[in-house]
């Protein structure tokens, strides 16, 4: 204990004596750690947002029918729905829109056939919060949308207000017919979610006669046999996968993006580590005489090593803690940029809050 107190006493006094150099070292280390942490946090948040979105949207969906790079022919849906192996099927049209005059804001709108939704996305969740008159309005009134309550609140919108979105750069004005509770699919993209009647969505998004996917649930029985049977009626190029498979594919892409950024951020960390090494080396060189005296007085070589390691550890600890805190704030600044990059490259993600994993 006495020895440890001696170490700390000596280190503290040396640090205070050359406080400018110590401060520079700590700040340099903190910056490297902050960069690393901010990238980890922001991309990690994107990943979690994406996974949460997929889970929210998928609901009880066991399988999804889709076509890579193309939309499905709407005529496929009746054949799928009526297939003997299928318990429930629901067509889906979805579109990622940005808001007119609100740069950086994105909204994910799902066009749903509400009558097919039972057994796919539970009606006891968000969609069941739509009152009947609102429901009919969504069905019958053109260009109406149900918005998540959280999103509407954030944008200062209420029921009956207009919302102008950009579809392929073209403005479209929708009327907010309902506000839906933040449950189930309305939790997607951390609440940046809207729902429309599928026919209206097809018209607004220019997808008349086409679907983005068909979600389905099989009847109880041998899933392998049912799958084989269903595949026989699917046209060439149309695939049937579990939501998790699609999720894993996109997740891999996001993780590769994360890997790239992490590799780059490791450079910042390496520089920080070099700073500590450099500072410690200079400190040892400067204190050569002092260390020699300590050895002459009977300090063991291992004790000298501990003294030097403690100094490095001290810089690492202080700089690291500062870097973690700084990384959090840097991540908040980078959040929008990272989110938009991932959205542009891979998949729509919307992050509004960060958390340490």
């Amino acid at each position: 204990m006495a020895l440890l107190k001696f170490y700390l006493l000596l280190l503290l006094r040396h640090t205070l004596q050359s406080w400018r150099q110590s401060l520079l070292t700590i700040l340099g280390l903190a910056l490297g750690v902050a960069v690393f942490v901010s990238i980890h946090l922001s991309v990690g948040a994107s990943l979690r947002s994406f996974k949460s979105t997929v889970r929210s949207i998928s609901g009880q969906t066991q399988w999804q029918i889709f076509q890579d790079g193309r939309e499905l022919d709407e005529g496929l849906f009746p054949a799928v729905k009526l297939h003997p192996a299928v318990e429930a099927a629901a067509p889906v049209v979805e579109f990622q829109v940005s808001l007119d005059r609100r740069p950086g804001e994105v909204l994910w709108i799902m066009g749903l056939d509400f009558f097919s939704e039972a057994g796919i996305r539970s009606h006891s969740e968000a969609i069941s919060s739509i009152r009947s008159e609102e429901f009919f309005s969504l069905l019958l009134t053109p260009k109406t949308v149900g918005l998540s309550r959280d999103f509407a609140r954030g944008q200062g919108l209420k029921k009956g207000d207009s919302l102008t979105i950009l579809v392929h750069g073209r403005p479209e004005t929708l009327t907010i017919a309902a506000l839906i509770d933040p449950k189930g699919p309305a939790q997607a993209l951390e609440g940046n979610f809207g729902v429309m009647d599928i026919a209206q969505a097809q018209e607004v998004f220019g997808k008349i006669g086409r679907l983005d996917r068909i979600d389905l649930v099989f009847k109880k029985g041998s899933e392998k046999t049912q799958l084989q049977d269903l595949k026989k009626i699917l046209p060439e190029g149309v695939r049937i996968v579990q939501p998790g498979d699609r999720e894993r594919g996109t997740e891999k892409m996001i993780r590769s993006y994360q890997l790239n950024l992490t590799a780059l951020s490791f450079i910042a960390l390496l520089v920080s580590m070099y700073l500590i090494y450099n500072t410690t080396s200079l400190s040892v060189a400067r204190r050569r005489k002092e260390l020699g005296v300590l050895r002459a007085l009977g300090m063991l070589p291992g004790q000298v090593l501990w003294l030097i390691l403690l100094e490095s550890a001290g810089y690492g600890l202080v700089g690291g803690l500062m870097g973690i805190g700084g990384g959090y704030f840097l991540a908040r600044l980078l959040l929008d940029t990272v989110s938009r990059t991932i959205t542009n490259l891979y998949v729509l993600v919307g992050i509004t809050r960060l958390s340490f994993p």
Partner: protein, 223 residues
């Protein structure tokens, strides 16, 4: 009782360019409680001889025995512990740790032993009083005169009650008054506590204090 024995001790410093024999076949015995002066011109081997006895260096040939132990056969760790526990070293340039106060410098060898608390406090207090620096205990070495710094170094050398005190030109950086004070202090400690003191010095004033004077020339013992 013989405390220190050197048997045909030699030390050679080899470089790519040259070979320098700092000590050549030194054989001598020193009794416990002696105050021995090593005298000779610069480069005659006084410091090398002190380093041999103090475990700071290893002989190229021969044996160095201190307190019944052959220093040359000790491992690095054993030699370090030997220096810490058995030897108190006083240097010409004091070699105090500038970041530590007077009392912290004195306590340092005890801290290296892992000792702290009341045990150290009392001992440091006693030594501060003995060297007349109680009033300077909280000061840093830079605030002290040369003589005061050397007295701190003496107190530091005594903290672990070593059997041998080695002083290499302890008055070399001091004026005559301070130098005389330091020499008197060493002589008093030798008398009071019976520690063996080996003093390397040019100073003729020390001769009268010594029980024995060993003259060195070119690495040999003259007398």
């Amino acid at each position: 009782m013989v405390l220190i024995e050197l048997k045909d001790v030699s030390r050679c410093y080899r470089t790519a360019a040259a070979e320098v024999w700092a000590l050549k076949g030194i054989t001598l015995s020193l009794a416990a409680g002696e105050l021995v002066i090593l005298s000779g011109k610069s480069g005659c081997g006084k410091t090398t001889l002190l380093n041999m006895i103090g475990g700071l260096d290893e002989p190229s040939g021969g044996e160095v025995w201190v307190g019944g132990r052959n220093i040359g056969t000790l491992s690095e760790k054993e030699r370090t512990l030997f220096r810490r526990r058995e030897v108190g070293t006083i240097f010409q340039s004091f070699n105090l740790i500038p970041m530590l106060t007077v009392e912290e410098n004195i306590a340092l060898p005890r801290w290296l032993e892992g000792k702290g608390g009341g045990d150290i406090r009392d001992r440091v207090e006693h030594l501060l009083a003995r060297v007349g620096l109680l009033h300077r205990r909280q000061h840093l070495p830079q605030a002290l005169s040369g003589g005061e710094q050397q007295r701190v170094a003496i107190a530091r050398a005594l903290i672990n009650s070593p059997r041998v005190i080695l002083a290499d030109e302890p008055t070399g950086n001091l004026d005559s008054q301070n130098g005389q004070q330091v020499l008197s202090l060493l002589a008093d400690l030798n008398q009071e506590q019976g520690q063996t003191v080996i003093l390397a010095t040019h100073s003729r004033e020390a001769d009268s204090l010594a029980s024995r004077i060993i003259k060195l020339k070119d690495g040999h013992v003259l007398s």
